[in-house]
């Protein structure tokens, strides 16, 4: 193992943490607090991505013996003593224990010890984020919390960095996968709220006490974090009105559909003439809105700015791996910031062995033919001889027999295989124009 390449102050809280000499490619030592679903996913990603210069050195958890895994390097130190991590030479501590206490105290101690901190702790950031960020500034250390909202969807970095040039005035979206699952179930199966909730609990999508999710408390913590960052509003979760999804019944989806809508739990914050409107509540959403097609545990955030208009961020809002991606992305951001001299997409890590456009997909072939018997048979014979399987043959009525369009779709195969078959097919004399060949995606 290399010796620490970040100069870590020997005595904590000396206040000189910012005076790092500029050095070359550095290694960044990382500790994980909490080895649950997210913590072990973070460890997994870090162990598979040593190339990124991130080096997992410590894992804290209560009862470590029962937590230890065999797929991490032997040099990773497992400990049940938080002070062992705080007094170590790690550069970044990833707090993944959750809850307000002791997580908040540990983050304070870590910042004071000159560590940067990454956390997925939504309630802690929602309630104590401004105070912790202030401490981080004082210590000239980083506090990143991209994983605290919408899991793997990089909405915090997107709003804070990607849209930094805009003046955002509205954010709204779907921030709670449990509500989304329950509402989708009521909609598609026509069951009651209670039945949908029970099913969600059975599948592990909802807690035994579902209050945090279905009554909006989870989403409002996330909305508070987003509003602070994107709308620069000093808002606390308790300032945000919540309405439960409990009263929604299947009949409401029937009526919503008549109105060209569906129903979703919407988190919404909007600045208007110096006033901040904010609420988490079930709402009707037009079927053509991206919000309407959000499924299961997916999250989606729409941000509207004065200059750039509406921008959408969507993806997996929960789960160990997606949340861990957000945590590791934050660690990488800190490592890069410590390195300096970043330049966009500068470094190409590897070169793909070769470049091809020969995707494997389903295929759409539109033929235009002079109609006569035996056309399908002739085409199918060639396709078959090339090892290609037909999926369907479609012919809409109403076209001239002299230039009749019809469509053949193919099961998934390489585009090159189809092109080879089409070269033979092109010689058939009933074609009145070249076949149109498109891949079918999504």
């Amino acid at each position: 193992m290399k010796s620490p390449s970040y100069p870590v102050p020997a005595v904590i809280a000396e206040g000189d943490a910012s005076r790092r000499p500029a050095v070359g490619r550095k290694e960044c030592k990382v500790a994980i607090l909490g080895f649950g679903t997210v913590g072990s996913s973070v460890a997994r990603i870090l162990s598979e991505r040593r190339a990124a210069g991130l080096h997992l050195t410590h894992i804290y958890n209560r009862g470590i013996e029962r937590k230890k895994v065999d797929w991490l390097p032997a040099e990773v130190q497992w400990t049940a003593d938080i002070n062992e991590v705080l007094s170590s030479d790690v550069d970044v501590i990833a707090e993944l224990v959750g809850g307000l206490r002791p997580a908040g105290d540990w983050i304070r101690s870590a910042l004071k010890a000159g560590k940067s901190v990454v956390t997925a702790n939504k309630q802690l950031i929602a309630h104590h984020g401004p105070e912790l960020a202030q401490l981080a500034r004082e210590m000239k250390r980083h506090l990143y919390f991209g994983a605290s909202v919408a899991g793997g969807v990089p909405v915090i970095s997107g709003l804070h960095e990607g849209l930094a040039g805009d003046e955002l005035f509205k954010i709204y979206g779907i921030l709670n996968g449990t509500c989304n699952y329950i509402l989708s179930q009521i909609e598609s199966v026509g069951v009651s709220f209670q039945a949908a909730l029970s099913e969600a609990q059975r599948l592990g999508f909802a807690e035994a006490d579902p209050t945090e999710d279905v009554d909006g408390l989870d989403a409002r913590a996330k909305l508070a974090i987003l509003s602070r960052g994107a709308l620069h509003s000093n808002i606390m979760p308790g300032d945000i009105t919540c309405r439960s999804i409990r009263p929604i019944e299947a009949v409401d989806f029937n009526y919503a559909r008549l109105l060209g809508c569906t129903i979703r739990q919407i988190s919404w914050a909007q600045l208007e003439e110096g006033q901040l409107f904010a609420a988490v509540q079930p709402a009707l959403v037009g079927l053509t809105s991206p919000l309407a097609s959000v499924e299961g545990s997916q999250n989606l955030v729409m941000a509207t700015g004065k200059f750039g208009g509406e921008t959408v961020f969507g993806g997996h809002g929960a789960g160990g791996h997606p949340t861990a991606v957000a945590v590791v992305s934050d660690i990488i951001a800190i490592a890069r910031a410590s390195e300096g001299g970043a330049s966009g997409f500068a470094q190409v890590r590897e070169t793909a062995a070769s470049i091809s456009s020969d995707f494997t997909t389903r295929h759409y072939l539109r033929f235009t033919v002079m109609d006569r018997p035996g056309i399908i048979a002739a085409i199918a014979t060639i396709l078959s001889s090339c090892g290609i399987n037909l999926d369907s043959v479609l012919q809409k009525p109403g076209y001239s027999q002299a230039a009749l369009p019809f469509v053949i779709t193919l099961e998934a195969c390489k585009a090159s295989l189809v092109e080879k078959a089409l070269q033979q097919i092109a010689k058939l004399d009933f074609l009145v124009q070249p076949c149109l060949h498109l891949p079918i995606v999504g």
Copy 2:
């Protein structure tokens, strides 16, 4: 005006540009090269956002007299001499002239002069990005090009930072608004490609020579940039196969619809067993895919990673303001990186005067009543007395008269107004359960 707070090397290319002392809140001096649509939007945003610490000092354009505007501070220096900018004390140069030359030479000179560079120049970055990024690294300066792909959609920062923790292996999306407009027109109006193109040209959505757009050259430059950054592939635009959208006819949309699909120009790159598949081509896309609902000049990129699954970025892919937002976001990123000590969403700039959940929306009211004559009249009278306008009354057949659900929708008004009316309505004796009140959004 404050004196320059970045230490700018007096002699260019001395190589000591990285040794900046850590100072407090700094001002970042910005020059714009090219005062066209994007350049003037950037100037507009910078002039309205002085709070961000960005200070526009120079504007370069040929024939500046005809370009000068009256809404910029008098101290902004207008010049038609590029050397005046290169030898100035600006920290960041935004290259918005486009084209390969002289833009590329100017960027090289700027980096060598110790300036960081932001560019919206897609073709330049696609063809010379790696070389320019290497120069930026050598000079320890930043080269950002978030505006070069998908305009205002922060996909480059999203992939490079927000998803840095993942191992991305697939990106696909809609990167050309002109193709999207033309295909949408063929689909919705049933016109020929040529007619849709002519209409797009008439409206200014397509160039007189539409080759770059409709034959895929524009999108493949963007795909090359994204593939390099997200898939770490050393790919050039010429390596990417392009297929034109010219052969697409209205009949193909009819068949696509039968298959539950629509047709879009899809840019697609995917790493598979060391091989990079890449193409820009028209493709069938399932109607439930987010790609299917992309309209007009909207862009959408879907990135898939080993750990985080699929993430979506969408928004305005073109236009002066959205592109300018991307440029300014990059300038802010450079200014922040130079400051150091960033901590997520740390700084709350302002506090909204007050916080409210009293949004103005359309409203959905679902009543459940013991049926009898006069119910609608009773409710409508109260709503009307509160100044609320009815939009529609919906009643589906098949429910019991003893607990009959029906819906009233309201024109846009404040939620508080509706709640006030509902308090009066709650006293009506035909209600068998409380009214369900939802906002209608989107």
